[in-house]
Symmetry: C2
Subunit: 270 residues, 2 copies
């Protein structure tokens, strides 16, 4: 999916919600366990219930990988089931030397046909650029993450005046642009968005940490919106595990609508 | 495998060679393509030919993942085939928020029963520590990598006087110890080993970049050896793709012996 289509889907749906498919076989409603592929069945019902409310889905690859080869089959069925007008994110946090990153890129962009993959920046340019060589595919680079350990390295101050996450932005914006490179920025530290927008005013930001991890949507938007919206706000557990009964998909839809309504108010006020 | 066993295998075999199983279906000898599982057949013959010469195998997970579910089956067969006295490394470069890292750790340590997994440090403590919670399992944390892009961030200077890779060492040595935490240090910049040994004198270092990437074993040893050897030097392409004919395993053995003989001379001189 390209930049213009993503922006137009956001404006049409009045939503920049991404639903995280962190589908854990130990957490899905028990009645699904009798299905041949419980993970896919869960995802299918979540997708059916939310596809008109959200603009992106983000399977967390760890949860599929942990099930061995059958987990990858559930992932394949899931990605094939997601409608074409919805942006897909392989949350895989990959990154390696050039020829290995190229292999990861082929896996997620060609074999599974994701629109984007999350990538860790530590190994630098040649670990990221192979992912940027695919048309209409995206890198979502870790910048300032929402977890507590994010502070250990990302907020370290460099002698050039940047914090490390700012250095990641300054450096990587030479490798790609707003059409193929987004950044992961946690919702839990809204003040960081100001610094980020000073460096990448137009890039999309993927924002986890709203809801379960305690971030506020209003705060994120106050500092994070770009002129083309430029945000994908993710919620995983708060939507997909809001209910543990046969009504889980219905409740997931209600939770998704709650967030989307808040987004609509913000978008209408722009 | 624990620290003492690893050290004693190194001393017994007079080798600290790790063979990288970057097994690419497009690069293996064509006569193997008629096998039911060419990737496993290739690995099996490489393992048979080198298992008395090396102390570790390092499958590069990207190459298995790229083949979809059947690649993961080849990986499973490979790891099951590796003798118990050889250290196994899942070169996966994972790292995510706590509950996701825990899932990755279960995958590689329980589902596939690897001894260790490579982990990227950018997300900090809670992205690494779930991997450290397993008995006799290891994290191999990226510190100073051998690729050209390694310089982009890892060599940035912080206001506290450290370069970023030094900060990774200083910080992470509070999370683990020489019994469960190693570091990836590229062979291409031997002068870096001095700085690294000043911070983690006793930790094992996994050293890629000897051979194909241009690093020198003698230089690495001059600055990198610890009192218990403390090095695992990896070679992938230089061994496994040294020959493209039916004699590939035999030639791989010769190449492995060449490196091991150089290691023996160094170990005998200590």
């Amino acid at each position: 999916m390209n930049y213009q289509t993503l922006v137009s889907e956001i404006k049409k749906k009045k939503s920049f919600l991404c639903v995280g498919l962190d589908t854990d076989i130990d957490k899905i409603p028990v009645h699904l366990l009798k299905e041949e592929d419980p993970v896919f069945e869960f995802n299918k019902q979540i997708i059916d219930a939310t596809k008109d409310i959200c603009v992106a889905y983000k399977p967390n690859i760890a949860f599929y990988e942990a099930l061995g080869p059958k987990g990858w089959k559930s992932l394949q069925k899931t990605i094939d089931y997601i409608p074409e007008n919805i942006f897909t994110i392989a949350d895989a946090k990959r990154g390696d030397i050039g020829n290995t990153s190229k292999m990861y890129a082929k896996t997620f962009f060609e074999y599974y046909n994701f629109d984007s993959v999350t990538v860790a920046p530590y190994m630098g340019r040649d670990s990221v650029s192979p992912f940027l060589a695919f048309d209409n595919k995206w890198v979502i680079l870790l910048a300032a993450t929402s977890n507590i350990g994010g502070e250990d390295l990302q907020y370290q101050e460099l002698i050039n005046g940047n914090q490390l996450f700012e250095q990641v932005l300054e450096t990587s914006k030479q490798w790609g642009n707003k059409e193929n490179l987004m950044y992961v920025v946690g919702a839990t530290r809204p003040e960081v968005f100001k610094k980020i927008r000073a460096i990448v005013p137009n890039s999309f930001l993927l924002v986890p940490g709203v809801g379960a991890q305690g971030g506020s949507l209003a705060e994120v938007c106050k500092y994070g919106l770009s002129k083309d919206v430029g945000l994908l706000v993710n919620s995983s557990r708060g939507i997909i595990y809001a209910d543990q009964t046969e009504k889980f998909a219905e409740v997931a839809r209600e939770k998704a609508i709650e967030i989307q309504q808040e987004m609509k108010v913000i978008l209408d006020s722009l």
